[in-house]
Point group: C2
């Protein structure tokens, strides 16, 4: 492990440790057992890391932002629990989802309680700007709900455009990442310019991350990715690649892509052909360029911040996300 | 209408007006249409009224507490939307529930968005104690979730005790009422003693209200009550009356009550017999006494507050709740 990887691992341990101890209550077990189960599931903990690093990058300490960091991660987990019900997802991170292991009612309530737990820990943050921090956090909750609503609507629409898709992922995925960096910077008492810089940094890496997720579905190594390659195609999911390719494809290619949208052509056997269309139409190249451009812009923004160990870590973070195979 | 009834009607209009204008966004329609539908459904608006009156009763103004009042009502409506999914309830206040008019996914997301909207409006409150207010509000969300979790668990348990039931309703119903009066008093900058007085007042009327709900199910006039008499019995619901009667009933009476719990004896034809058992075992009398005692204690607590028009209105409120037939 490089020194920065070691540092990441230390932050992650701190976050995991806090999450493991967060829920002190035992009763009712039907509420707190699934809540703890969710928080114990692991994950990359990118959002809380970003809260702490952003706080440090403007002159604060990681500790000052720890409660807010945990709050963001708990909030993120709430969205996963409710999304999994809506998406009928049976597994996440290799384990049964809450509504599968328990039932839908338990999952609805667990999600609700996690929102409240998130606010509870957020409000422990000692800062004169607590009302502003809570406001930013709340905007995050609202936009995540809007993003999920669009996502569900888009599932049954045939004519979703790439622009609409970009708006949806900005809300569903990007917003909570940019709220993470913004809240961290506010808690660290950053200047308005530094707060803006870090918010935009979050927006950019959040978007790049999501497009890369779509890309990895067709180009990743199956073993390191941990998911079946072409899973999005088999599900008929409207991804960056599918919508971009649809903008350019004609004739038989177009018919093939339409059949993925209609879910009539979503057989695993079609994955290879669809991937070829993604290549031929240039959709793959456009996605790669979009990711590179976002990460380059995010990285260049960091130059505006003072040179600190936290900034070095933020450089490492965007680089890691760009090169991830997971 | 008496002058106090007129005053209540003015407060209610103010609250309804604010709720009608609360949601400015239109898109995504699948989120904001059902959210507005819920807020337009009406209701007695007791909780927001209590927030404003409590603020006034300690020397603040109703306007100071208006945002918090709206927040509490929005939060209350969130709980109704999610509870209705869990309870498979088709109608509420004479209209289709959100998950019936739309679907479960829409109802889950609408509820989630309402929580965020509630925090958004709460955080507009101008008070140096905003962090404390948000904390109290969040405790309310958590306890309401706990109460609902117990309620769901109790549905499938045969051995629920009256004490457990009292704990459940304290969390599911009572807490949000006491949070209403407490938050109002804190926003009005009330003394710690007055804040405590108003919190306890809220706890007591919240509990009395719930027990009376159970009582009205068997003694109310069907036309003014607006629900079928004996509905709780037909549903096999574990109410104050059923659990109290079970503590005392023997022989055939006990068997009859057990059959209501097992849902083998929940035919409409049994309602009369069960009501007789409630009478014979003294459960009806105990419920009435419990309500009277709580309201008397609540009313007597109000004497500790300065004599103001708001206090007169709080006297009227507990009296109205005691004598309601709806």
């Amino acid at each position: 492990m490089t020194p920065l990887e070691k540092k990441y691992s230390r932050y992650k341990q701190l976050i995991d440790g806090q999450l493991a101890l967060l829920i002190r209550k035992k009763d009712p077990a039907s509420l707190y057992e699934p809540a703890q189960y969710v928080l114990d599931a692991g994950g990359k903990r990118i959002r809380p890391l970003l809260v702490m690093l952003s706080c440090e990058a403007v002159g604060g300490t990681a500790k000052q932002a720890l409660n807010a960091a945990i709050a963001i991660e708990v909030l993120h987990n709430f969205t996963l629990v409710h999304d999994d019900i809506m998406d009928n997802a049976a597994a996440r991170r290799g384990r049964a989802t809450v509504h599968t292991k328990w039932d839908s009612n338990v999952a609805i309530l667990t999600g609700d309680a996690l929102v409240a737990v998130a606010y509870q820990v957020l409000l422990k943050t000692k800062t004169p700007a607590i009302a502003h921090v809570a406001d930013l956090f709340t905007d995050g909750v609202i936009e995540v709900c809007e993003g999920q609503a669009y996502d569900k609507i888009f599932e049954s629409r045939r004519d979703v455009t790439l622009d609409e898709y970009m708006l949806m992922i900005a809300k569903k995925t990007g917003k909570l990442v940019s709220v993470s960096s913004e809240i961290g910077a506010v808690i660290g008492n950053g200047s308005p310019q530094n707060v803006r810089t870090l918010r935009t940094y979050g927006e950019l890496i959040g978007r790049a991350f999501q497009i890369q997720d779509d890309l990895l579905d067709v180009v990743a190594d199956e073993k390191t990715f941990g998911k079946t390659i072409g899973g999005d195609i088999v599900e008929g999911k409207k991804t960056f690649l599918l919508l971009k390719a649809l903008e350019c494809a004609r004739g038989g290619d177009r018919k093939m892509l339409q059949s993925v949208i209609d879910k009539s052509g979503t057989a695993l056997a079609n994955v290879g052909r669809v991937r070829e269309i993604y290549e031929r139409t240039g959709a793959l190249a456009v996605a790669k360029t979009a990711i590179d451009r976002d990460i380059a812009r995010a990285t260049s923004l960091l130059k505006k911040l003072p040179e600190t160990p936290a900034r070095a870590m933020l450089y490492w973070l965007s680089d890691m996300l760009l090169n991830r195979h997971f």
